[in-house]
Symmetry: C2
Subunit: 324 residues, 2 copies
C-alpha cells in the first residue's frame, strides 16, 4: 500500500485523492489548510463526470497542517495540487515537513514551465515528477463540480541527484497506481516538458489575453482580438518553442485557435482568479516561457507587455490582501 | 460681440463658457444634451481655482439640442469640448447643424493627435483650430470642481481650404477673446501640433498604463512599473516624435517621470472612464500616435499591445452599453 500525502485539496486535488483511493493501492493523507473544519464535518460532495456523485466523501486521513500530516509519514509520494505561485509562496518551504529525502517522490500537478527546478534544488535526493492535467473542475465550499474528463500526462523531470532508473521507476509506479483508480486517461510521458510546452500554447495566449482584456475566450475572438492579439501571441509562443528545440506541427497556432470556438463563453483560470481577487499564475504561465525567450533571443512584444502589466495587477492584488 | 456655440459642457466646457462670457466680448450658446433639465433648473455650481465660487451659473443661452442651437446662428466659433471618441461618434456629424461654412471657425478642445483631420474634410471652408488644455476638472450633476489652474495652447491646424492669414486671424481673435476672460494662461501657438505631441508623452504613457493595470500614477511606479513599462513606453513615444520631426529635449522621458511623483494618487482620465464604464479616448491618445509610428517605421511593442488590449476593452464597454 502506497502512503501518499496530498497538499492542495481544491478541485484538481480532490479528484486526485478520489482516483488514488479508488486504486486500492494507496492511502491518502490530505492536508486541508483552509477548509479542514468544513470537510471534517461534512466531507466533500462531488459531482464528477468521471466518478459520478459522491456525498460526504473523504480520503483516508485528513489533517489541518503539514506538521500534523508529517505524523503519518514517511510518505512514498507527496502530491502537490496547489496553484503555482512562486511569487506568493514557496512550494519547497511548504512541503518540507512531509518530504523524507531518499524516500518520498514529489508529484507536481500544476501549470507552468520549470516549476520543478526549485524542488530539485531543495530535494536533490528525491524523484521530482510533474503532471500536466487537462480537466475542468470548480470547487465551492465542500462541493466539487468536475465537468471535463480528466486527462493527465505524468513524467519525471530528470536530474542528476539520483539514478535515472530510480526516477523512471518511481514515476511509472505512480502512473500505474493512478491509472488503476478509474477512468482517468493517465499517460506516462517520457518527455513531460513537451507536454508542458504544449499546454502553454493555450494558456500563454488565451489565459493571458482573457485576463488582460476581461473577455471570455469567445468574446476575445468576436471582439476582433484574433488578428490583433491572439494569433500574434500564439506565433510568439511557437517561435519560443522552436528555438527551445520543441518542434510542434506547423498548424499548431491555427489549431489552438480553431479548437476554442468564438461561441464559447469559457473564462480561463487567471481571469476567474482576477475576478475573485486571487493571485494569478503569471509566473508558471508566462514567466518561465519569457525566461526561455530571453535566453534564446526570441522577441515577444505582446507576451512581455502582458507579463509586465499582469505583474503590476498581481502587485495590487497582493497589496489589497495585505491590507485586509 | 462674438457669437459662440459650445458643444460639450462637462468640466472643461463649463469653464470655457465662464471664461468666454467673462471676456464681455462673446455670448455663449451651450448645448446641454444630457443635463439640460438639471442646469435649466439650477444652473451650474462651480468651485474653481481660477474663477472662485459661482452658484447657479449659466451661459447666455442654454439649449437642449444642436437643432435648437442652430436657431441662434450663424456662429463665429463652434467650440467642441466633448471627449474625442471617433470610434463611438463623429464630431463633424454632431456639429453640422451649427456650422456655417465660410463663417464659423471650429475650436476643438480635445485630446489627441490628428483629431482635426475629419473636421477639415467635412468643413473645408472653415478655420479649424485646436486647443491643448492642461487643467483638472470634475463634474458631478451640476457641480463643477476645478482644481488645477487652466493652461491652454490654441493654434490653427492649417489647411489649404482658405487663405492662411484668415486662419491665423480667426485663431488670434479667439485667443485674445479667451485671454480677456480671466486668469487662464491662454497662449497662441503657431505650431499647435508640437503641443499635441508634447501632451502625448504623459497621456500616451501614464493614461494608457494606469488604465491597463488599474493602478493610479503613483502605484504604477511604486509597484515596479517604471522600469518595466513606463520608461520603455515613454521611449517609444520619444522615438515616434523624433521620427515625426518633433525634437524634444533629451530628458523629456525622465522629466515626464519626475514630474509625476510616486506619492501621487491621481487617476488619469481613461482609467476613471473605465471605472465608470464610459468609452475610452483610445483613438486620440494612442491611435493617432500609432498611425504615425507605423507610417514612420518605428516599433512600439508596448503601446501597440496596449492599444489592441484597450480596443477590446472598448468593444466590451460598447457591447455593454448597447445591451442596457
Amino acid at each position: 500500500m502506497l502512503n501518499i500525502c496530498l497538499v492542495g485539496c481544491g478541485g484538481v486535488g480532490t479528484i486526485a485523492s478520489i482516483v488514488l483511493e479508488k486504486s486500492k493501492r494507496a492511502k491518502v493523507t490530505a492536508v486541508l489548510r483552509s477548509n479542514y473544519d468544513l470537510v471534517s464535518d461534512k466531507g466533500f460532495d462531488v459531482d464528477s463526470i468521471d466518478h459520478g456523485k459522491l456525498f460526504g466523501w473523504k480520503p483516508s486521513t485528513i489533517v489541518r497542517s503539514l506538521e500534523d500530516a508529517a505524523q503519518g509519514g514517511p510518505f512514498d509520494y507527496v502530491v502537490v495540487a496547489m496553484k503555482a505561485l512562486p511569487d506568493v509562496y514557496s512550494v519547497p518551504d511548504i512541503i518540507r515537513p512531509v518530504v523524507t529525502p531518499g524516500v518520498s517522490a514529489i508529484v507536481l500537478i500544476q501549470n507552468g514551465l520549470d516549476i520543478e527546478i526549485p524542488l530539485i534544488e531543495a530535494f536533490p535526493e528525491c524523484t521530482i515528477m510533474s503532471g500536466v492535467s487537462h480537466t475542468g473542475t470548480r470547487i465551492t465550499g465542500n462541493f466539487v463540480y468536475h465537468e471535463d474528463r480528466e486527462k493527465l500526462f505524468i513524467g519525471a523531470h530528470y536530474h542528476s541527484g539520483l539514478p535515472k532508473e530510480k526516477q523512471t521507476e518511481a514515476t511509472k509506479l505512480y502512473v500505474e497506481t493512478y491509472a488503476a483508480g478509474g477512468p482517468t486517461a493517465c499517460t506516462y510521458a517520457e518527455d513531460i516538458i513537451f507536454y508542458r510546452w504544449r499546454k502553454l500554447f493555450w494558456n500563454g495566449a488565451f489565459n493571458t489575453l482573457c485576463t488582460l482584456t476581461g473577455l471570455d475566450v469567445g468574446s476575445l475572438q468576436k471582439g476582433g482580438g484574433t488578428e490583433t492579439l491572439l494569433r500574434p501571441a500564439l506565433l510568439e509562443i511557437y517561435e519560443v518553442t522552436k528555438a527551445a528545440g520543441y518542434t510542434f506541427p506547423e498548424d499548431m497556432v491555427e489549431r489552438t485557435i480553431r479548437d476554442t470556438p468564438p461561441s464559447s463563453p469559457f473564462k480561463p483560470s487567471m481571469q476567474v482568479d482576477l475576478e475573485k481577487g486571487n493571485p494569478l499564475e503569471i509566473e508558471p504561465i508566462l514567466g518561465g516561457l519569457l525566461n526561455h525567450a530571453k535566453e534564446l533571443g526570441v522577441v515577444t512584444p505582446i507576451l512581455s507587455t502582458a507579463y509586465n502589466v499582469l505583474k503590476l495587477v498581481q502587485w495590487k492584488l497582493i497589496q489589497a490582501k495585505k491590507s485586509m
